[in-house]
């Protein structure tokens, strides 16, 4: 199998699996318990917390564990229930849907923007986006407080007036792909997920800057210093820690920038050269996108069909065209970016991981041109121009 859907989930690393298997018996105790087995389990949890904090420039006390990115995102949105929430259509549904439901007109204000997009991998200039959003929505009346004062440029601390605005970023897709420093990004909150880095599904984390508000989503326990109730998922958090440690030790962002980028760029180049009617939705210029994501569209060929023809050849990718329940919705991200439903319906996302090889690119290009050609020939849509 050629697996190129790493942006959806990364197969669990063997060392993660092994550590979790061991933990099931070794660290079975409730980590909140005061006895020795409970204490040992808590030690393991704290170990993961320290590794994550170290990787993102935070203090361990600023990290809590959750059941995943959706819970982390929902926790932040619910903290700002009734407040002004600025976000974008490029976000994950766990932000968009909850923001729609809980936004209001009170202050403080919350800005929530991803650093990199899930579907096309675009790296966003959060500082600029927050600045622009503030410009549009700042109250003009002289009586209103100046709620947001961006004082620095990209890459430097973003200073916010604590009376007025806070910034959250969903960093799920970028963790391990590019270096992250929550202070440099000017963040008050950040979301992470274990299964995007080779850890288990069902474990996430939330960075909460010291001193900023937080309303727990799950109440009823003193865990995480009353910031998230519920018995600790010790085994899952141990798995997350092993994946984080590997990421740190091998400096995965450097591998993504070199070996993974090389494969992604080669696939992009070959698709454009060998497949008529193809176009890239990802800007592969260094710095513009995550090095492991390539989103491409194929004129007159429908994404789900392309995906399943590839699937039948043992090549696993994803599409921005989801056909379900009589309602065929193109990707909200591609629609927001391109405004072109045909481009969105004809899109395929190839996402690479550290295990991807040159052979994967070759296998894709052995079959993809034929699949596209056939779909284009039986398509009701005329090809606009031959390349």
């Amino acid at each position: 199998m050629v697996y190129l859907d790493y942006a959806a989930t990364v197969p669990m690393l063997p060392e993660v699996l092994e550590a979790m298997h061991r933990a099931e018996t070794q660290f079975f105790a409730n980590a909140s318990a005061l006895h020795t087995p409970g204490h040992l389990a808590l030690n393991e949890i704290e170990n993961t917390r320290e590794i994550l904090a170290g990787l993102i420039g935070a203090k361990p006390s600023e990290i809590i564990f959750t059941s995943g990115a959706s819970e982390s995102n929902n926790t932040i949105i619910r903290t700002f229930e009734g407040c002004q929430i600025e976000t974008s259509l490029l976000e994950h549904h766990s932000i968009i849907e909850s923001a729609k439901k809980y936004t209001g007109d009170k202050l403080p204000k919350l800005y929530s923007y991803m650093l990199a997009n899930n579907e096309i991998g675009e790296i966003l200039d959060i500082v600029q986006i927050v600045k622009d959003a503030a410009k549009i929505s700042l109250p003009k009346s002289a009586d209103e407080p100046e709620i947001f004062k961006p004082k620095t440029e990209w890459g430097k601390p973003l200073v916010t007036d604590r009376r007025g605005a806070y910034v959250h970023s969903d960093l799920t897709q970028v963790l391990g792909k590019i270096p992250i420093n929550v202070h440099e990004l000017g963040l008050d909150y950040a979301t992470f997920s274990a299964h995007k880095i080779g850890g288990p599904i069902g474990v996430g984390a939330l960075y909460i800057k010291e001193g900023v508000p937080l309303t727990p989503l799950i109440i009823g326990g003193n865990q995480e210093h009353k910031r998230r109730g519920g018995t600790y998922n010790t085994v899952g958090i141990i798995g997350f820690g092993v994946a984080l440690k590997k990421m740190r030790d091998e400096r995965s962002w450097e591998l993504y920038d070199t070996q993974v980028r090389k494969l992604r760029d080669e696939l992009a180049r070959r698709i454009l050269a060998e497949i008529p009617g193809s176009s890239l939705n990802t800007d592969i210029t260094p710095g513009k996108s995550l090095p492991n994501i390539l989103n491409a569209s194929f004129q007159a060929a429908e994404g789900e069909s392309i995906q399943l023809y590839l699937d039948a050849e043992g090549i696993i990718v994803s599409t921005g065209s989801a056909c379900a329940a009589g309602d065929i919705k193109p990707s909200h991200v591609l629609m927001a970016k391109t405004g072109d439903a045909e481009v969105a319906h004809s899109s395929i996302r190839f996402s690479f991981g550290l295990e991807s090889t040159q052979k994967d690119v070759e296998k894709v290009m052995e079959v993809l041109p034929g699949i596209i050609d056939r779909l284009q020939k039986i398509s009701t849509i005329e090809m606009k121009e031959k390349k």
């Binding site: 007159a300 060929a301 429908e302 789900e304 069909s305 399943l308 023809y309 699937d311 039948a312 065209s321 056909c323 379900a324 329940a325 009589g326 065929i328 919705k329 193109p330 439903a341 045909e342 319906h345 056939r374 020939k377 039986i378 398509s379 009701t380 849509i381």
Partner: protein
Amino acid sequence: MTDQKCDKKSNNMENQDWVYSEIVKEHFLRPRNYLMGDESKFKYDAMGLVGNPICGDQMKMYIKVKDNKIVDIRWKTYGCASAIASTSALSELAKGQTLDDALKIDAKQIDDYLGTLPKHKFHCSVLGHEALADAIKNYRDK
């Protein structure tokens, strides 16, 4: 593989190595009666068109009619795997039928023919049926 696209009807998923049943897979990977390339290659008497690429699927059905019977049939589609498989199945069911009988082929029959089209893909089989009805209407209106 994941067990997505599974519904009550296809409760034999654990025996499958693909998201759809073998027969859907067969019609998707080796569709019958499709029209490849330029549509002028097929001398048809009437054509039906439904759907819109903006919505993600569009279907064209071409029929050749003799003595009130569909003697040959071709189709083109821009659509998902289920749309391709169900149109392929429909073309097999309609070939050789009288126009009246062909009109009676409904989505349920296509679904039964394919056996295990997931419920959320049912509309895909309706699309082919509508394209055929449109072609027959166009033939009769001539």
